[in-house]
């Protein structure tokens, strides 16, 4: 893959939240490894679906890509620039080019600000269309773009339905003319009928504006049909990534297979041939990630190398498909067993 095809790229990205003991001294007693060594490339103009169970770190990854949380390790590159060490100015410029649509449209709009104030905030922050009239025109344009009547600009969020509010949220995210949009469960909390509308709006906008989308969802079936590629996340790590068709039809990582076997298949013949994997047990806590392959405590195929070698993503299956599983050959970093060992460089 040519490098200038890639808009956003994560390498060894880590976001660890310290767990602190109470009391005055607040010693750090451990860490929640919300994002724990993610390698991911998002290509210009594509929709990448990011799926995984609740708590696996999807939101944290999305936030880290936008530098809304500061990574504790690794790097994020946006359009060729490393964003981990940006100063205030550069960070503001990044915020203009990369935005976010949030899950709950009832929580993501300030109840005390009108739609106009909300949508105009990015314009004010970045000094865009600073004339009063031009700004008004731009706001009307944005509201029309997301399918809202510009006449509602002076209403407050509580006067709108969930779907309408989400459109306001999308208008805000688009105000700075971004290249990249993270949609974090952007339709999950909407009524089913409204979900389709908002989803169509997002796809239409993407085509029209040439947006690159990271579409986060816990539901693989919902993401399959709207994504060009899919990345599957488990316990803070991307464990499989590839073209949506390949990952959806022929998953190479047991966890993805398990996710898919929970999805009903419309073709009876396909349904019959498909092997069912039922997950055992619960997701381990991200504060105590299993050694080696993090999926091994629930994997029906776990074998000797799994606890000892942390599997790396390797090309398997269809072109462009990557999976982290020793079933395709043991590739990865051996586990450092003793914690007292000197932190070796790899």
């Amino acid at each position: 893959m040519a490098d200038d095809d890639v808009l956003v790229s994560a390498r060894g990205l880590e976001v660890h939240f310290p767990i602190r003991s109470g009391g005055m001294l607040r010693r750090t007693t451990g860490a929640v490894r919300a994002v724990d060594g993610v390698d991911l490339d998002i290509r210009r103009g594509e929709t990448l679906g990011l799926v995984g169970e609740s708590g696996c770190g999807k939101s944290t990854l999305g936030n880290a890509l936008l530098r809304l949380v500061v990574p504790t390790g690794g790097s994020v590159t946006f359009d060729g620039t490393d964003v981990t060490g940006l100063d205030r100015r550069a960070l503001r410029a990044l915020r203009r080019r990369a935005g976010m649509v949030f899950q709950d449209p009832f929580a993501s709009l300030d109840p005390r600000r009108t739609v106009r104030q909300t949508v105009s905030e990015p314009l004010e922050v970045h000094g865009l269309r600073s004339g009063r009239r031009e700004r008004g025109e731009r706001i009307a344009e944005l509201l029309e773009l997301v399918g809202l009547d510009p006449a509602v600009a002076d209403r407050y969020p509580h006067e709108f339905s969930g779907g309408q509010r989400q459109r306001v949220g999308i208008a805000r995210a688009l105000a700075g003319e971004p290249d990249f949009l993270v949609c974090d469960e952007a339709i999950a909390s909407l009524d089913v009928s409204v979900q389709a509308q908002v989803l169509n709006l997002l796809r239409r906008l993407q085509r029209r504006l040439g947006l690159t989308l990271l579409f986060i969802s816990h539901d693989l079936s919902a993401v399959r049909h709207v994504s060009d590629r899919i990345a599957v996340m488990y316990l803070g790590r991307v464990v499989e990534v590839g073209p949506a068709a390949a990952v959806g039809a022929d998953p190479q990582m047991p966890y993805t297979q398990a996710l898919l076997s929970a999805v009903p298949v419309p073709h009876p013949s396909l349904e019959r041939t498909r092997q069912r994997i039922v997950l055992r047990g619960d997701v381990p806590s991200p504060a105590a990630v299993p050694s080696g392959c993090r999926f091994r405590t629930r994997c029906p195929y776990a074998f000797e190398p799994c606890p000892d070698v942390d599997p790396a993503l390797q090309p398997v299956g269809a072109p462009g498909q990557l999976a982290a599983c020793h079933l395709h050959g043991v590739v990865g970093r051996p586990v450092r067993r003793a914690e007292e060992a000197v932190p070796a460089a790899e």
């Binding site: 009832f106 929580a107 990015p122």
Partner: protein, 313 residues
């Protein structure tokens, strides 16, 4: 009010409740709606009206007072209430009604100045502590704890001892006593609002901390602070009276309700009206500020408001 202890700063009960993150989501922005709901609450409406009258009285004191407050007429001294002197006269023959009217200006000015000081300083401290957390929070709030731990009277007396008596310094002393209260109320409220998704959403489009604080956090964290302001005004008026009663606040011959109460104490069995009318003025003002505070709490409490306005999420 013998002994006249300076009331300890009281944290209004909503202070902590309103810190719950979910509350801000249903709150409504419009002042008109707040006023309408407040007007529907009869107790609060009456309290607000009485306070408005007292405030008007304080503003137009010179015009309203039947005679000069410090006009001595020895031949008229210690007259019981009559048509000529509805509240009677004091030991120097001064008209008590006039002095109560003029005392309103002194008492309310000190009360407002004190609360304004406490509000500005305390809310700023609470805002920074709540928003930034970490060591900013630790340093600021430990400082507030220390200030809070001082007995209120002692703190006020110390301030007045250093800066000398007088109404400006009284306001400052009372204000300092109430700074930690506002800091705590504000911090608790900000802690809830800070985590709101809309704050993160604003950050995601590039809003600066200053913008987040002034446009999003403060407006949404305001309701409990407003309630606290009303409740604190009651206490500040009471505190001014207490300090004046102790001889540390307003200095004679200027009228202040607390000072008049102190001066009237000596005549309590001889001429009850000397202490009675300023005492009633204090009582009424404090009561109304408290009732208004309760009313505001009901109206600004989002859950309550959602119930009344009938518009759930």
């Amino acid at each position: 009010m013998t002994g006249a202890p300076l009331p300890e700063p009281a944290v209004s009960p909503t202070a902590t409740e309103a810190g719950v993150p979910s509350t801000a989501r249903t709150s409504r922005p419009r002042w008109r709606e707040t006023l309408v709901l407040l007007a529907r609450n009869p107790t609060a409406a009456v309290a607000a009206t009485v306070l408005l009258l007292i405030a008007l009285m304080a503003v137009f004191d010179e015009t309203l007072a039947p005679s000069g407050p410090n006009e001595i007429a020895v031949e008229d001294r210690l007259q019981p209430p009559s048509l000529e002197h509805p509240f009677g006269t004091d030991d120097l023959g001064r008209d008590i009604l006039s002095r109560v009217v003029l005392g309103a200006a002194v008492s309310l000015r000190v009360g407002f100045l004190a609360v304004a000081f406490a509000l500005v300083v305390g809310a700023l401290i609470g805002l920074l502590a709540g928003f930034y957390g970490c060591w900013v929070d630790d340093v600021l709030m430990r400082f507030m704890d220390i200030l809070f731990a001082f007995p209120a009277v002692l703190l006020a007396i110390a301030v007045l001892a250093v800066r000398g008596p007088g109404s400006g310094n009284t306001a400052l002393a009372i204000g300092i006593v109430y700074v930690p209260v506002f800091a705590r109320v504000t911090r608790a409220s900000v802690l809830g609002v800070r985590e709101e998704v809309y704050v993160r959403a604003s950050r995601s489009v590039g809003a600066s901390d200053w913008r987040l604080l002034t446009r999003h956090v403060l407006p949404n964290a305001a309701p409990p602070i407003i309630v606290q302001t009303s409740v604190s005004l009651a206490f500040a008026v009471l505190a001014e009276a207490a300090l004046s009663f102790l001889g540390l606040g307003t200095q004679p011959p200027n009228p202040s309700w607390g000072l008049m109460l102190a001066e009237g104490r000596g005549f309590i069995d001889l001429a009850w009206w000397l202490a009675f009318f300023p005492g009633m003025a204090i009582f009424l003002t404090v009561l109304c500020f408290n009732l208004l505070g309760d009313g505001l709490r009901d109206v600004l409490d989002p859950r309550q408001r959602t119930l009344m306005a009938g518009s759930g999420r």
